[in-house]
Assembly symmetry: C2
Homo-oligomer: 168 residues x 2
């Protein structure tokens, strides 16, 4: 029988960055949500995978659009992570108060993020309570020069609080 306590502890060993996933469908509907289940999976072409809640508006918008942006949060952007745990609100030309521009793929790119990648959806694996969105990286934006390692600049799950996890 599966050891549920060990499963939770071992799965929570996987370190995660914190990202805002954004997409816009062809009717102008915009989705933006905090996600953390992300990994690159290939160099050529550059592919990434994101686990996205199956019954979410965000997944519907990503599917309808066929493109998305993954916006990277910096160490000092903890508040933004919590903002996008809630449904996105579009007003005054901002998404939940955040300025954005339209990326090349039509996905909204958050200007205050460290940077972003824009992806074309290649496949969605519909397994589990979150589906596996596979995206090919078609554009990348670095908003400002980085100091040191890129993976030292990003906001991480463990920065959100001692008992904050999404996984296990």
């Amino acid at each position: 029988m599966l050891n549920a306590d060990a499963k939770k502890a071992v799965l929570r060993m996987i370190p995660y960055g914190i990202y805002i996933l954004t997409a816009q469908d062809d009717k102008g509907g915009i989705a933006a949500a905090t996600v953390n289940w992300v990994t690159q999976t290939a160099f050529t072409p550059a592919l990434i995978v994101i686990g996205v809640k199956a019954d979410s508006g965000t997944l519907q918008t990503v599917k309808a659009s066929g493109h998305f942006a993954l916006n990277m949060l910096g160490k000092d952007q903890k508040a933004l992570a919590f903002t996008f745990f809630r449904p996105a609100d579009l007003s005054d030309g901002k998404i939940s108060g955040q300025a954005y521009r339209m990326g090349e793929t039509g996905a909204p790119v958050l200007i205050e993020a460290l940077g972003a990648i824009e992806c074309r959806v290649t496949t969605i694996v519909e397994q589990g309570d979150h589906h596996i969105v596979v995206g090919e990286v078609v554009q990348a934006i670095l908003e400002r020069p980085l100091q040191g390692r890129p993976d030292a600049a990003i906001l991480e799950m463990k920065d959100l609080g001692d008992n904050v996890f999404y996984g296990g």
Copy 2:
């Protein structure tokens, strides 16, 4: 046109843990390789994704077996990460010098790791120079009690050296 420098920098923001992926085929052939492209993608059932080099013996063994184990390295196991960058060597009942036991799924579980999950392969997405292996977690082993957050215990890419990356 894709900004290649930005693509590399932004993709390298994704933080990674360091894992040894192990599998055994039905002829007793054992594969063991260091991997880092890992994320959970669903809670129910618990699914994970791993990017595995398309032309590797490890992917062939995982495919032939239909099961694998993902062994979590601890902060003090940097040497082990480098050991399994090389092809696995089976002798004296050890894999490249590492003691193991057979897990419930028939995948080798490294005794010195922090813990491991055993998975059944549900799907392999054959896109890119690494393929996307989707695994359902069917067992988990915590080798010893953890102090603090699980994601603070695991060896990370940035612990391997200032200029060590696998991604971008």
